[in-house]
């Protein structure tokens, strides 16, 4: 049982008023949330310090232009805020942020994290032509019913980790029928309870309806199985990989937007990954020819070994890929199987060590030949 704050109004409105309250009463110095940046339905994460500017805030808008994990890392990396900030983020963004914190790339200090059960987001491309804006009612309808929309990110369709971990406040959204009549916020932490103390509203103890989420998870699971099977068919060995990645233009956008890839200079952009004349001579002795610049497969396989263990399958890499490679499904599939080996769920528990910085003395003996 957790303490809950219930307001009898549209969920998003409720949360916005809550945020407004926090700002006006100096409970927080600022709010970090998605916000409309034009009439056509373009949204962007924004810092908001003036309560009036909350009018355009759309905390649960079904888009993820940038994974907020990256942004919160950038925000706190060189010194967290001295006063509290309320940040509304999606579960996978939060998990990405936690993974970054484990790598010293940010901190939760003075952040009040508000997250929600998540119905998924549309590919960012659909923002530009206003499709998302047009589909909003359809989207929320599906969210209420806990249905899976066809045109949201594949990563979202197949996401089973749609309830947030490590969050101070959880907003109940997914599969909530009276979404526009009632707003429920679960206060999971002391931080969460503290901050709402002074609100005059009816509190009660309650817990999120597990069974409702379970059957959504089930649907997502089925979707996942389907998508995994598709990608598995394609990923059949070197030729399969060449079929998939042959069109990669090495823009490395996937790593740039990845909430886990945090290196200053990616190893695969370093001089160590360059081919010199003699390398080419050697290669051309073996092969009739070699794509130039070389190294697309090397890059993707290498990246898998670097961040697969922490991949939160947010799908940002899909959106950014200019040549429509199904990056996210590949990384989600490989990532999950690697994570299963260490039974590790990235971003679930901030205390849990990343498997690669630790070991057990008696494990994986099956790998010794």
């Amino acid at each position: 049982m957790t303490k809950v704050l219930i307001m009898n109004k549209n969920t998003e409105q409720g949360v916005l008023e809550f945020l407004k309250f926090l700002l006006e009463n100096k409970k927080v110095k600022g709010v970090f949330s998605l916000k409309k940046i034009d009439k056509k339905g373009a949204v962007a994460y924004s810092l908001i310090t003036n309560p009036k500017d909350l009018e355009d805030a759309v905390p649960f808008y079904p888009l993820m232009p940038v994974n907020a994990g990256n942004l919160l890392s950038r925000f706190t990396l060189n010194g967290p805020p001295k006063e509290p900030i309320a940040a509304v983020v999606k579960p996978c963004e939060l998990r990405g942020f936690i993974e970054l914190i484990k790598r010293e790339q940010g901190s939760l200090e003075n952040l009040l994290i508000i997250s929600s059960t998540c119905g998924g987001v549309y590919p960012t491309k659909l923002e530009i032509d206003g499709t998302v804006e047009k589909n909003l009612s359809k989207y929320w309808d599906a969210v209420k019913k806990g249905q899976i929309l066809n045109d949201i990110r594949p990563a979202c369709k197949s996401c089973e980790e749609f309830t947030p971990y490590v969050t101070d406040i959880t907003v109940d959204i997914l599969g909530k029928n009276d979404l526009d009549k009632q707003c429920i916020m679960f206060l999971n932490t002391k931080k969460g309870e503290e901050i709402v103390k002074s609100i005059k509203a009816d509190f009660s103890d309650n817990k999120i309806d597990g069974s409702k989420l379970d059957n959504i998870r089930e649907k997502r699971g089925i979707e996942k199985k389907k998508l995994f099977e598709e990608i598995e068919k394609k990923m059949n060995g070197i030729d399969g990989l060449i079929q998939i990645f042959g069109k990669c233009i090495s823009c490395h956008g996937c790593s740039k937007v990845c909430p886990i890839c945090y290196c200053i200079l990616c190893e695969f952009e370093s001089s160590d990954s360059e081919y010199g004349p003699s390398n080419y001579e050697t290669e051309l002795r073996k092969r009739p020819g070699l794509r130039v610049p070389p190294g697309t497969l090397y890059y993707h396989l290498g990246r898998l070994t670097h961040m697969g263990i922490s991949c939160v399958a947010c799908g940002a890499c899909d959106d950014v890929c200019p040549v429509d490679i199904p990056v996210s499904m590949i990384f989600k599939k490989v990532g999950e199987s690697v994570q299963k080996m260490f039974d590790y769920i990235p971003g679930k528990n901030i205390e849990e060590e990343i498997p690669l910085i630790t070991y057990k003395k008696d494990e994986f003996t099956e790998f010794e030949g």
Binding site: K29, G30, I37, D38, A44, Y45, S46, L47, I48, T49, N50, K52, P65, V66, L71, R74, F75, N78, P80, P81, T124, K125, E127, I128, D239, I242, I244, G246, K247, I249, S250, C251, H252, G253, K256, V257, I264, L265, E269, S270, S271, E274, Y275, G276, P277, Y280, E281, L284, R287, P288, G289, L290, R291, V292, P293, P294, V320, P322, V323, D324
Partner: protein, 373 residues
């Protein structure tokens, strides 16, 4: 009138086939050990540059692919950045790719000594996103459009490209103004002439018809370009429009990564120089009530203008790679024209033209000085 030497080549079997045959011959005769040329990838959904040693691969090569997935200059630089090596290489590229290559040579990213560069009249390329929708269909569409010199389906910057026949490599294949089943073999350097006589090509023919045609087309395109830039300026000019335009930027830096002349190993705008403590950002926010976070997207774009617009070749790779469909290439082509005009510099026009930012004249640019000085 011509500063080029040229020859008319009859191409009964079609221009592309004839060129491929020529290239095969150069390998047989040991003129080149390898050729850098676009090839269709096994999945058929893209064209990639390949360093070909085994000439049998040339049959699948494509002299004038319908798209430009990777800018050719990047391919050339990846092969020679660390040194020219022993291999004698010919690179077949589009004029804007050649120009970028020349810029990279000036920036020490390309070693041209063992490299012979072959370009051809360019009808433009399809935006890769369009191409990907249906490769087979689009290859046909492209070929027809190319024949008719119809640029409407090409990249926006291709539609306003007035340098689509600029010769800054060693050899250029001229198809404009050529008779049916023929093209011009144009040499722009000693290297080019060597290749010619190795192939038994006599560079004595008259190429005026090509030059006249090129002239008229580039003049048309130049007008079109000026007009387009004028319109664009009204759309994106001024701080509000500019910010509005770049407000969709998600900071993926694809534009920078695919840009042939963005050579920094670590972009200034990815370095810690642009990362600040939380309270700095909050301070900035408070002054306006709210601030978009990602910060500095406009700073990034304008910074790039400062860094590379002087060498920008308006190839359009950035716009293709932009996941948010921002007209980056059009904007940069506009800026580039202006900054380059300042020094009457044309990026990649000639190797012996040094990049303006590494040179100066004592008597210049007084107009930017305070008149009272």
């Amino acid at each position: 009138m011509s500063k080029f030497k040229g020859a008319v080549i009859t191409a009964k079997s079609g221009t592309e086939k004839t060129i491929i045959d020529m290239l095969e011959k150069t390998i047989d005769k040991g003129v080149f050990d390898a050729i850098i040329i676009p090839m269709r990838v096994p999945a058929g959904d893209s064209f990639a540059y390949v360093l070909i040693k085994d000439k049998s691969l040339l049959n699948d090569a494509s002299v004038l692919p319908p798209t430009m997935f990777v800018q050719g200059a990047k391919a050339v630089s990846s092969v020679t950045r660390l040194g020219k090596g022993k291999t004698k290489i010919a690179a077949v590229m589009r004029p804007c790719e050649v120009r970028a290559t020349i810029e990279l040579a000036k920036l020490g990213q390309v070693d041209l000594e063992n490299m012979t560069i072959i370009s051809m009249d360019c009808p433009g390329v399809l935006p890769s996103s369009d191409f990907l929708k249906d490769p087979e269909k689009n290859i046909k569409l492209f070929n027809e459009a190319a024949k008719k010199l119809d640029d409407t389906i090409m990249r926006p910057v291709c539609q306003i490209c007035n340098k689509s026949s600029m010769v800054s490599g060693d050899i250029h294949i001229g198809t404009l103004g050529a008779k049916k089943d023929a093209f011009f073999f144009i040499s722009n350097s000693e290297k080019g002439e060597k290749v010619a006589n190795k192939l038994g090509i006599n560079l004595k023919d008259n190429i005026d018809s090509w030059q006249t045609k090129v002239k008229t087309i580039s003049e048309e395109k130049h007008e079109k370009r000026k007009k387009a830039h004028k319109e664009l300026k009204t759309k994106v000019g001024g701080i509000d429009n500019l910010v509005e335009t770049f407000s969709h930027c998600i900071n993926c830096h694809n534009c920078m990564r695919v840009c042939p002349v963005c050579i920094c190993r670590l972009c200034y705008f990815d370095s810690d120089k642009v990362k600040h403590p939380a309270d700095d950002y909050l301070e900035r926010t408070e002054s306006k009530g709210s601030m978009r976070f990602l910060p500095d997207t406009t700073l990034f774009q304008m910074g790039r203008m400062m860094h590379m617009s002087i060498s920008c070749v308006s190839c359009g790779a950035c716009e293709d790679a932009c996941s948010m469909s921002i007209p980056v290439a059009q904007i940069f082509s506009m800026i580039a024209d202006e900054t380059q005009a300042l020094f009457d510099y044309v990026s990649g026009r000639r190797l012996d033209e040094s990049i303006p930012i590494v040179a100066y004249k004592e008597e210049e640019l007084h107009e930017v000085e305070d008149a009272n000085d």
